[in-house]
């Protein structure tokens, strides 16, 4: 019950922000030169004035901006995200189609990056300033500094084109008609390269945060006490240091949830995955206002949700935080 109340309070507090973001974005996009009909003409490589006029009224672009905005907000109140100009169907169903791909991609790579980053961070902290630390930190930095499209493309060139080990792109084999476990395996197979690419980029951040906070916690009094009690080195690290050092990493997950939905544009493009990032990019290029606002809306809700979960986890890891509430 307390959790539910907390959740509701959080949601209510973020409603004004959400509204501001949506209205702001709506107005900002009015400043972008060209509308979705211009973008359509550009894609078709030709058009004529009669057609453009009809399409403008079809997409409701012939009304003044304020009227358009009011219409949009009124629909939003009724939980209707409107109609997508590019895809010719409701925005909600367009987003729902893409959401699983993005959640799978981002969820897997974040978990992988978090787990590996933690393990490597702990390892680096234990051997601080020795060669394992130097090696791990250098590698982390290299991964962090490399652009993801380059990683992705190199992965495709080496593993898909030269070695033929992995597929070059796509979410699954089209028309192969896999079902059940076979389909799952097929999707996993297609996701190996994109997940690795994304995870390597995230990895460095978690690794460095983990290493730093481990080193910091290791100097605290309670660690000395634990050691003095005669606990083994591993026991001290896992039960006392790690738990405390986890908090900054967790904060980072909460922050990165914001980039989760849109942040994978490059990887989704290189590997041709039908995710939300590509959808957002496409919506900007095609000036598909409804879809873009819909994505922002859904991302914002998701960020609120993830941060709420992170808060609950804080309380679990560190009882002092719960006590303060």
């Amino acid at each position: 019950m307390r959790i539910l109340l907390l959740a509701l309070r959080r949601l209510a507090a973020s409603l004004p922000t959400l509204l501001l973001i949506l209205v702001g974005l709506f107005l900002l996009l009015q400043l972008a030169p060209g509308d979705t009909v211009d973008a359509l003409m550009a894609q078709m490589g030709g058009g004529d004035p009669a057609m453009m006029e009809q399409l403008r009224s079809f997409y409701g672009l012939d009304a003044p901006v304020l009227v358009q905005l009011t219409r949009y907000l009124w629909r939003l109140v009724q939980l209707d995200l409107g109609f997508s100009a590019i895809y010719g169907k409701p925005v909600s169903s367009v987003i729902l189609e893409r959401l699983p791909v993005t959640l799978l991609l981002m969820g897997t790579s974040l978990s992988f990056a978090f787990a590996a980053g933690m393990a490597l961070g702990v390892l680096a902290a234990r051997r601080v300033n020795k060669w394992p630390d130097a090696l791990i930190s250098t590698l982390g930095l290299i991964f962090y500094a490399t652009p993801s499209f380059w990683f992705g493309m190199m992965g495709v060139v080496v593993f898909a084109i030269k070695l033929s080990w992995l597929p070059a792109g796509g979410f699954e084999d089209i028309g192969a008609g896999h079902t059940g476990l076979a389909r799952l395996a097929d999707i996993a197979w297609h996701l190996v390269l994109p997940v690795t690419t994304l995870a390597l980029i995230f990895l460095a951040t978690y690794l460095r945060i983990m290493r730093a906070s481990m080193l910091e916690v290791l100097t605290l009094d309670f660690v000395r006490t634990a050691r003095a009690k005669g606990l083994s080195q591993t026991g001290v690290l896992l039960r006392h240091v790690l738990r405390n050092a986890l908090l900054p990493g967790l904060t980072l997950i909460g922050l990165q949830a914001g980039t989760m939905l849109g942040g994978a544009v490059v990887v989704e493009s290189v590997f041709n995955l039908p995710g939300l990032g590509r959808l957002a990019y496409e919506s900007v290029v095609q000036r598909d206002l409804n879809t873009l606002l819909g994505i922002v809306f859904v991302s914002a809700l998701l960020v609120i949700l993830v941060n709420f979960i992170v808060d609950l986890l804080y309380a679990k890891l560190d009882p002092r935080i719960a006590a303060e509430r």
């Binding site: 973008a39 894609q43 078709m44 453009m52 169907k89 089209i174 590509r278």
Partner: protein, 536 residues
């Protein structure tokens, strides 16, 4: 994975043996006897909002829908319009009545018969009211009469040249079923994204952002066709990703410059693929240089000529475009045998002449050697456009004209140039679609409403040119028509409100597994009924 390796080994072995007699005769035999079955996977470079070629004229739409929906006529292997849903046609003496006899025994994919009512509906309700370029082409179409189920009579209020109509109908003459569209708003009809046609393939599924599938139509009117079981269009928007898909065999065909120029050049020497402009001849494009003649300097024709003289087009083609094209001579490309007036390049590279013209016009080099400054808006139709914008910038710098590049995405650039007139010079693509009257003369004709992209929004007008354009569009004698267009090219080259710099074909990359491909001038926008695949 083992399969792929084995396949690679086998194909390697095949290559080594290719010189020996048994294998080559087997190959020859294979070429003679088409194989049934197989799935052809085709690259689709951008998501299409609707899949109805009677509402949207665009190669992106044709790549998919031309296999599902058929036109009255299409360019055949002869390179001329041949009957598809029409079997014969005839024009009246005055050119105002054109009668089509229609094919009998053709059924829509939902089982209903195809009749002249469908033709009348498509022409009057979709081509004339909605279809881009169709609205202009059919502007003077008064009615389509249907004396019987297999005759359609097009009545025009002004003479319509038969050759123009036939050539234009290959792109702008797709027939959709009346019974599916007649109720409700045409633009909201579900058949716009789940097309129903008479073609060799039936629509199956459209997964947004991923793929579109069509399968063999067992009741197709060409008996025994098609050969393929299925066609899958994979939506791959990133061009490099498309090349990777091509190289791994995930797609077998990419048309209309779907892959990066660098990859086209590289794959040319790869014996798994054919990189060619064969079978794509119907579409040609130019890199343009468009002048806003409202600018004082650019209102002077000497300045416009000087700026064109300053650009070394052959150098650009060779060093930036891998030699894929040649310098253009004007708005009618040399590949258009019916209309090309065989004229020379009007303003070849000549820096000294360019400087002399600018001096003569009164724009002497001032402080720092600068005569005046211009802003160029690149209209990003392709990867070559920003390259050309930079090349123009550097070329004009040489003759003392400073150029600032305005970076906008394509929707923004179209608005800046064609609606807001907020540019000095612009560069993009002009596409020639088989007949100057389809989409070329609008670049020069005055009177296009503000905001219409790829039309004359240059503040330039010539009554003589307008008259030539109007006369040619309704001249029914082909010889006279060609002569009018020759005069027209001469006139617009003289005045040069828009310079056509390059003339370039599109390139398609096709896997050698695909047989009987690119056999007609707009093959990628054709029906694929006789295309087949070698066993993998």
């Amino acid at each position: 994975m083992t399969m792929t390796r084995r396949a690679a080994l086998l194909s390697g072995a095949g290559l080594m043996l290719a010189g020996t007699a048994p294998v080559s005769s087997a190959l020859a035999q294979a070429a003679a006897a088409p194989r049934r079955g197989g799935v052809l996977t085709v690259h689709l470079g951008s998501e299409q909002r609707i899949l109805n070629p009677a509402l949207r004229a665009s190669t992106g739409v044709y790549i998919i829908t031309s296999k599902i929906i058929e036109p009255l006529v299409d360019l055949g292997t002869s390179g001329r319009p041949e009957g598809v849903l029409a079997t014969s046609w005839d024009a009246s003496e005055d050119g105002k009545t054109i009668t089509f006899k229609l094919r009998e025994g053709v059924k829509w994919h939902d089982g209903k018969p195809f009749t002249s009512a469908d033709v009348a509906y498509s022409a009057m309700e979709q081509w004339k009211k909605h279809l881009n370029y169709g609205t202009t082409l059919q502007l003077y179409l008064d009615a389509v009469e249907t004396p019987d189920a297999h005759t359609a009579v097009f009545r025009y209020s002004r003479p319509m040249p038969l050759n123009l109509l036939l050539r234009a109908l290959c792109d702008l003459g797709y027939i959709v079923p009346k019974h599916v569209f007649e109720t409700g708003n045409v633009l909201e009809n579900p058949a716009n994204t789940a097309p129903i046609g008479t073609g060799p393939f039936k629509f199956v599924e459209y997964q947004r952002g991923q793929y579109i599938i069509a399968e063999r139509n067992p009741d197709y009117w060409r008996e025994g066709f098609p050969y393929l079981d299925r066609i899958v269009w994979r939506i791959i928007t990133d061009r490099s990703a498309a090349t990777a898909a091509m190289e791994t065999g995930a797609i077998q065909l990419s048309a209309y410059n779907g892959l990066p120029l660098a990859d086209l050049d590289r794959l040319k020497t790869d014996n798994r693929f054919e990189v060619s402009s064969r079978g794509v001849e119907a579409n040609v494009f130019n890199n343009t240089l468009e002048f806003n003649t409202r600018r004082k300097e650019l209102a002077d024709v000497r300045v416009r000529r000087a700026l064109v003289h300053a650009i070394d087009v052959p150098f650009f083609l060779e060093n930036f475009l891998y030699g894929l094209g040649k310098p253009a001579t004007g708005p009618i490309p040399s590949s258009s045998t019916d209309f090309f007036p065989n004229n020379p390049v009007p303003y070849p590279y000549d820096k000294a002449k360019a400087e002399a013209l600018l001096d003569e016009a009164g724009y002497k080099r001032g402080a720092g050697g600068i005569r005046f400054s211009l802003r160029i808006v690149p209209i990003m139709n392709g990867e070559d456009v920003p390259l050309l914008a930079t090349y123009i910038q550097q070329s004009l710098q040489q003759i003392g004209v400073r150029v600032e590049i305005v970076q906008l995405d394509i929707a923004g650039a179209l608005t800046a140039v064609y609606r807001d007139w907020n540019f000095d010079i612009a560069t993009g693509w002009h596409q020639y679609r088989g007949d100057p009257a389809v989409s070329t003369t609008v670049w020069y004709r005055s009177g296009s409403p503000k905001g219409a992209p790829w039309t004359n929004q240059y503040g330039w007008q010539s009554d003589a040119v307008d008259k030539l354009i109007d006369d040619a569009a309704s001249e029914i004698d082909p010889v006279k028509r060609k002569a009018l267009y020759a005069d027209w090219v001469k006139a617009v080259n003289e005045e040069i409100p828009v310079a056509m710099l390059t003339e370039r074909p599109f390139y398609a990359v096709t896997s050698k597994k695909v047989q009987n491909h690119h056999s007609s001038p707009r093959w990628d926008s054709g029906d694929f009924h006789d295309t087949w695949l070698l066993p993998s």
